[in-house]
Symmetry: C2
DNA sequence: TCGTTACATAAGCGAACACTTATGTGATTC
DNA sequence: GAATCACATAAGTGTTCGCTTATGTAACGA
């Protein structure tokens, strides 16, 4: 099942934090480690999982690798969520308000 | 981290399938097992995980327990997704169209 | 009350997971 | 071309996960 793969990628708190950090701005793997008690191989493995889930994408920049949020993963989750819109609460308006609040 | 808990609940393909089945209509645990090669304790454990993640809620009906989708979990995912709306693709309109398509 | 039904919980086991240390690979600098 | 830096990969290990069988509990019917 494809959908469970992307959820599995987000099932780990460390990967959630990495993704959240990247959402605040793309950066390379070393910069990501700053302030996170995590080894270099662990970070590399987490990024690999996030990349396979299409939550993150990479771009070689010399000897650095720039990582950033891949909108594709978020779209996949959005699509999954949309399948169950019938069960969204009446508070869906609240959610839309939240969406507006999140606008830059 | 709270958000990773709900993703962990959906990280298992079997639980994904259970949730999807419940989304098509609430039913009891025995009915859920129909057509799914899964033992009774396994089903019970999966439902427990989904319930703790607020993806599913239960209601005692005699000696049956009726399970149904809990909108709360979907709202939590929606809230998580909303945090990263800045990274939603320009195709967000496509998603909204998809949302409309999903309307009953 | 006795048996059955519907479900939950306990305990144990193999597989997957997240981490570690060690090593490999590719790009820059000297 | 040698050393170094940024990162990936390999191999090993403790923990977690999802399953199993066995047992417990609550509700119903005879």
């Amino acid at each position: 099942m494809i959908e469970s793969a992307i959820f599995k990628a987000l099932a780990d708190p460390t990967r959630c934090a990495i993704f959240e950090k990247l959402a605040a701005g793309g950066m390379n793997a070393s910069a990501l480690r700053q302030g996170m008690a995590i080894s270099q191989p662990a970070m590399s493995q987490h990024l690999s999982v996030l990349r396979n889930a299409r939550l993150v994408r990479e771009e070689r920049q010399g000897r650095f690798v720039h990582y950033e949020v891949d909108p594709e993963g978020l779209t996949l989750i959005g699509g999954w969520l949309a399948k169950y819109r019938a069960y969204w609460p009446a508070r869906i308006d609240d959610l839309q308000a939240l969406l507006k609040d999140m606008d830059p």
